[in-house]
Symmetry: C2
DNA sequence: TTGTAGGCGTTATCAT
DNA sequence: ATGATAACGCCTACAA
């Protein structure tokens, strides 16, 4: 049924030469007569010859494929990262094998297994929310597999991490709210086990401290799921139950922030007059809603691109893993829109 | 540096048996003593043996990998499809190699090439906006490569297509607008070469006809890019230049529809009182904006899942390609929200 | 019950 | 300038 691909052998047979000659001719090795070269290339073209990458992989123990392990594909930020990964990988001649864990540890583990089976040259990983222990990664590192972690990065020896400056982003966002005159600022926090959540919370706390505002632990609420529904429910319950109503919300992600906005509006509060809101990630919809949502932009594409470059440099031994700086932190940018501005310019 | 993976040979050597024995023991072939089996498996486990999928691929001329060619990863609908693809592929033991074309024909071509080189077992394709001729796909089909097209499907012989009922979705959306009392309905159309655009436009036209409304060609405007900016600009220019202002917009995608909404608001028109708006795709933000945007939901995850199932069934010869029905059309669902409702229930 | 040999497609090494 | 051979890791007739 499937038409067989022509191989080097086919060309060799037809031309009455050896496969080595064909192989050499095809790659312009020295010591092949121009005549032979010409004939080989001509026939190769005619037969639509295509090198078998699988055979090459076996021969070289290199697959020119990198494995990407990511929590979710349907996620604006991650899809942006994937896009950056794909661009760089493509331009440098690598394939990308993609798996999503759906935030499950066992999928993470089994994805690693199949990727190892497939002799991938390296890993790009953002681990799942369920992952609290990193032995499976440490083991890989010890065995010498190149891994670059991005966004959700572990604190283990020798890991190479690419992340955004979550601390600074959060610090900027909260400082901005404060200078706009908001002071009872809720933090809709992320899952506690993710370093990014911890960093954002730290930025929140430090910004408050920096302005001499006492921290009220009741205003820090974990949003483990990260949907707008969740953000909405949590915000509603806060508005209903806190003795003193808050006047601002800093969401650890945009979905939570939108949820807060919807809940506030439903409660009759005006944004930004009564309540200021800032999100994190700068999803596309931020500029489409009303009021438009201020948000901390993360350079997703760039993160994917940089992580991939570092990984490929290591794979190709352009750099020594020991020489690679172990962490690259990309800048965030606070995009101020209407949801958080109540002072005249 | 990288620690070598244990191979069957390693196990054989250590146990003083032949590699065939090991191979058979590992797969519980009949005719291996329980004792040998036990020892082999034990050592395999100890050495952390993992079959080399590359060697297997070479041997079997099967890679258990499928190639996905998609216009853009950072696109809500496509990312949903990818998610569906990945789920099914994973559950059936296949890898997914992903490339995005960025709507470029040459990337589409070269992606096909590398995938062929990599001996992938089949293709899942949604072609680029630049693709106007399908010879590169026809050739693959002729050579017997399994391909399933999704969403953007070509009209070529033997192609297997999975799509949504764009015609019906558009028909429903426009009928809904009409029954809400809107009659000068703009269609922000998609690129003309995409069948999905044609179908949506056909649905638009038929709905109008069906209600006896004359079609005004000036109200059908192509939005080749598909961003909210583009939609906004086009809408503004329509509002400025049409002699008779339109009272509704049916966007061939949600971005265009949001653009229309923003432009209408900016022009002082109230949505839905003065202008009704319906989009297509049901992006996440539809329910987050105000007024919430009515939209035609496409079953992206399901589309990816179904397309993958069909592809794998063909690959695994569970079905004969000839027996496969050549087109699967999935139902859309019109989600009516606030942007298009001005009559009391 | 186990072993031997050959081959999947390619290329590096060592002849000739 | 070209050929023969072996090897990458695995599987499978065929042999013993």
């Amino acid at each position: 049924m499937k038409i067989e691909q022509a191989t080097i052998k086919d060309i060799a047979r037809e031309l009455n030469v050896s496969s080595s000659t064909v192989s050499r001719a095809l790659k312009d090795y020295p010591g092949i007569s121009d005549e032979t070269k010409r004939k080989v290339k001509e026939l190769a073209k005619k037969l639509n010859y295509r090198p078998n990458a699988i055979a090459l992989s076996l021969r070289k123990s290199r697959s020119f494929t990198i494995g990407v392990i990511i929590p979710e594909v349907v996620h604006f930020f991650f899809s942006t990262v994937i896009s950056g990964i794909e661009e760089v990988a493509y331009s440098r001649g690598y394939n990308v094998i993609l798996t999503q864990t759906n935030e499950k540890l066992d999928r993470e583990q089994s994805s690693i297994d199949t990727m190892l089976s497939n002799q991938i040259d390296g890993f790009l990983v953002s681990y799942s929310k369920e992952t609290k222990d990193f032995n499976h990664f440490s083991r890989l590192l010890d065995q010498g597999y190149p891994i670059v972690f991005f966004d959700r990065v572990p604190e283990i020896p020798n890991a190479i991490n690419v992340m955004v400056d979550d601390y600074q982003g959060a610090f900027d966002a909260v400082s901005h709210l404060i200078t706009q005159g908001y002071s009872r600022i809720v933090h809709l926090a992320g899952p506690k086990n993710l370093k990014i959540s911890q960093e954002r919370e730290r930025g929140y706390r430090d910004a408050l401290k920096n302005y001499g505002i006492a921290i009220d632990e009741d205003l820090i609420v974990e949003c483990p799921i990260g949907t707008s529904d969740e953000g909405q429910k949590i915000t509603k319950s806060l508005l209903d139950n806190l003795k003193q109503t808050p006047d601002a919300f800093f969401g650890n992600n945009d979905m939570a922030a939108v949820g807060a906005m919807l809940a506030c509006k439903a409660a009759g509060l005006r944004v930004p007059e009564d309540v200021g809101i800032v999100g994190f990630s700068n999803w596309q919809f931020c500029s489409m809603i009303e009021p438009s949502l201020s948000s901390v932009a993360q350079p997703g594409f760039n993160m994917g691109a940089k992580a991939t470059e570092m990984l490929l440099d290591i794979i190709e031994k352009k750099v020594n893993p020991e020489e690679v700086k172990e962490a690259l932190t990309l800048e965030t940018e606070l995009l101020v829109r209407k949801s958080s501005v109540r002072l005249k310019g």
